[in-house]
Every structure is written in structure tokens, then in C-alpha cells.
Symmetry: none
Subunit: 190 residues, 2 copies
DNA sequence: CAGTATGGTGTACGATCGTACACTACGCAA
DNA sequence: TTGCGTAGTGTACGATCGTACACCATACTG
């Protein structure tokens, strides 16, 4: 007999994606099509495997493994590496991309001046507020009141902004160069 | 009297960070130091303000505003959107990118054959398992046992795979074309 | 000043929850 | 073949849950 737990877990994960909450045993039972005690036993297995944990009240909450996604590698042999291997310690994409939540904002991209850096129109950037980023990093800068995304460079005339698109010119600050933050990540939906 | 709701909400958020679950009304009451009915009224306010929502069972779950982080510092017009506004209904980047967790896997990208689609070496793709994707979509295909990421096209010789890089040739299947899934999202860390 | 939201408290109640115990069916190894 | 671990069902029960209704104090407003 095949192990049906992955199927049960999938149902649970879909429910969680919808409601951001692990339902009660009775709801799990109807969700996966077993009796309430079947759900209890199933959850016991999930707790043991690190997918689910219990709050002090006895209610269920997701644990680390619950967010891990299977990772399909390109190695001829490999199907089995879980997402935790490629994402390191992070358990969700959020955790992977956002290291300092309190100082991180998201910025939508307009235009294609950074297209050679893989930043396309409509993408979202994870920006960490930091007014003194390192040279060579992609930054969000304030030029004449407008936000712009460019490489931060330094030359004989001081710091300037360089696009990743030969159709656009470098930007040399007239008065001062205000850096809003540093681009630390990017994501996009197709 | 000052509004104590932000303080109450902070307690709730701390609890949530610890247990990944909104507690019951009774627990909220002791958590913030009011009566159970005080907690009910407080949660009503939070629901109205979009911080909390209710699952079908009546249990509480976090909503969009619950995850919105305060925007530190001044910002010119047009840049004040917190993450929740950009992502629409989605609460986290995970929720935004992954619609069906149980059928979604992550794939690491090797090579630059899709570079003009903004998919670079080292990126991660969100792939939804689906053996019959629509034409024109970016797919993960299995060609001679190897995984490859390409546009799915159809021509006079049937379905084939087209890279997003003029340096690479189109791929016409010799025997059959196995589609592993469809690329629905992408993310990258800088 | 009277009227009315607003943020609380207290009590009560049926529904649902998590837990426990007993039992069945099946696969597998000694 | 016996024994045992695993996956599942059924029933039962006290505790807790979410909800409802009544009531109180403060603050603002016409």
C-alpha cells in the first residue's frame, strides 16, 4: 500500500494557503476524507516528522517542514533534494529573501534600464534601507525627487549611477546623491 | 485616552511570530489584559481594519494588514506603498508566488539559455507541475532525460522548445516531448 | 445639556474542540 | 502461523470555544 500522507499533507497545505491556519481535527478529517481519529493519527505522524506543531492551547500550527518545498535539481540522479537545501536555513521564500524585515520594503520596477541585470519592467525588488551601500551594488537612489534603480559606481568625478542597459546614459549627480536603499533580492510572477 | 489597539496588536504579532497562529479570544484576553468580551470587541476592530480575518470555522487568521510593516522615514509621493498594496491580496511573497503549494516545486537555474526572459544562471523558479501547459508559456521539459527550461511553441513540425537567447537553437523532440511543469514565478537574491 | 458612539465588564449557552479508550483490517517478519 | 506494528473507524466526555445579550463609564458632539 502506498503512503497517503503526502496527499493528505498536500490538502492541508492548500487549505493553509487559503486560510493561513491549520484547521481542527474534525475539519482535517473531512478535508482528507478520513475519520476524526484518522486525522488525529495523521497529525501525530506530521508532528513527529516536523511538519506540524502544537500551540500551548492544543491547537495546531505549521512547523518548519510544512513550508519546505520539493526541489528538482538538474543532476541526472537527483529528484530528492528538499527546498531547505537550496534555501539554506530559510523555511519560506520570504525568509530567504528578507533578512531584516523591519528595514525592508518592496519596490515595483518600471522601465528596462536594468534589464541586463535581469531586472525587468513589472518585477518586484526587495530593498533594504541603507543610505551607505557598497560600491558596485544595485541601489534605489533619489535623483531630483524621483526614484531610480541603478548600479552605484565611483569614478574620477565621484559617485555616479550606471544603468544595466547600453541605451541609457550614466547619471552624474548635480548636487548630491541620495541613496534610499540597497537591492538585495528580486521576484516576479509570469 | 490614547488608542491602545496598536499595543494590543503588537502583543498579537509577537504571539503569532512565536506560534504561527492567532490564539482564541480567551487567550487574547489574557495576552493583552482585558476581558474576553474586550478581546472580542478588539478583534472586531482588527477585522474591520483588515488585520484579521475569520476562517469558515470561526477561528481567527491573519489578514493582509497583519503583516504590513510600518514605513520608516519620509517618502516622496508614489513610493509609500507597503508590500501588501503591491502584492494585492497576497500576504507574503510566498503567498504571492505560490498559488498551489501541494503541486509546486522549486527549480534552480543553470545556464543562460533563457536570459532574455529575465531568467539568469542561479535564479530559482517556481514551477507548477502540469503536463499540459499552454503554448507560449515557459515550461520545464524533459528532453532525453535532462531537464531544460524553454518556451513551449508549436510550428509546422509540431511542438518544440524555444530558448530566450539567440545563441541557442530551437529544440525539436526526436521521439516525444515530456513536460514536467509550467514556470509561474521566479526569484533571486543579489 | 442631552444624545450617542466607543471601549470596556460580566454572565450564560449551545457547539465544537482535543483527548482517550476500544476495536478492526492489513502487511510483514519470526 | 503467530505476533506485532501501522492505518483506520466509532463512541464518548469534559473543556474550551465563539457568540449573544445586558450593562457601565468615558468622551465627543450638536
Amino acid at each position: 500500500m502506498v503512503n497517503k500522507d503526502p496527499f493528505y499533507l498536500g490538502r492541508l497545505q492548500d487549505y493553509y494557503a487559503l486560510h493561513r491556519l491549520i484547521p481542527s481535527y474534525a475539519e482535517i478529517a473531512t478535508l482528507v476524507g478520513v475519520s476524526k481519529q484518522g486525522a488525529v493519527k495523521f497529525i501525530d505522524r506530521m508532528i513527529f516528522a516536523g511538519y506540524i506543531s502544537k500551540a500551548p492551547s492544543g491547537r495546531l500550527s505549521p512547523a518548519n517542514m510544512f513550508f519546505a518545498r520539493p526541489h528538482v535539481g538538474f543532476a541526472p540522479a537527483g529528484f530528492a533534494s528538499p527546498a531547505t537545501e537550496i534555501l539554506g536555513d530559510a523555511i519560506t521564500i520570504d525568509d530567504y529573501l528578507v533578512e531584516h524585515p523591519s528595514s525592508t520594503v518592496l519596490v515595483g520596477v518600471q522601465g528596462d534600464s536594468m534589464i541586463n541585470a535581469g531586472i525587468h519592467d513589472g518585477d518586484f525588488l526587495i530593498v533594504e534601507r541603507n543610505t551607505n551601500p557598497n560600491l558596485g551594488k544595485i541601489v534605489v537612489a533619489i535623483v531630483d525627487g524621483d526614484f531610480t534603480i541603478k548600479y552605484l559606481r565611483s569614478g574620477s568625478r565621484g559617485m555616479y549611477l550606471e544603468p544595466a542597459n547600453p541605451d541609457y546614459p550614466d547619471i552624474y549627480p548635480e548636487e548630491s546623491l541620495d541613496i534610499y536603499g540597497e537591492v538585495v533580492g528580486q521576484f516576479r510572477k509570469f
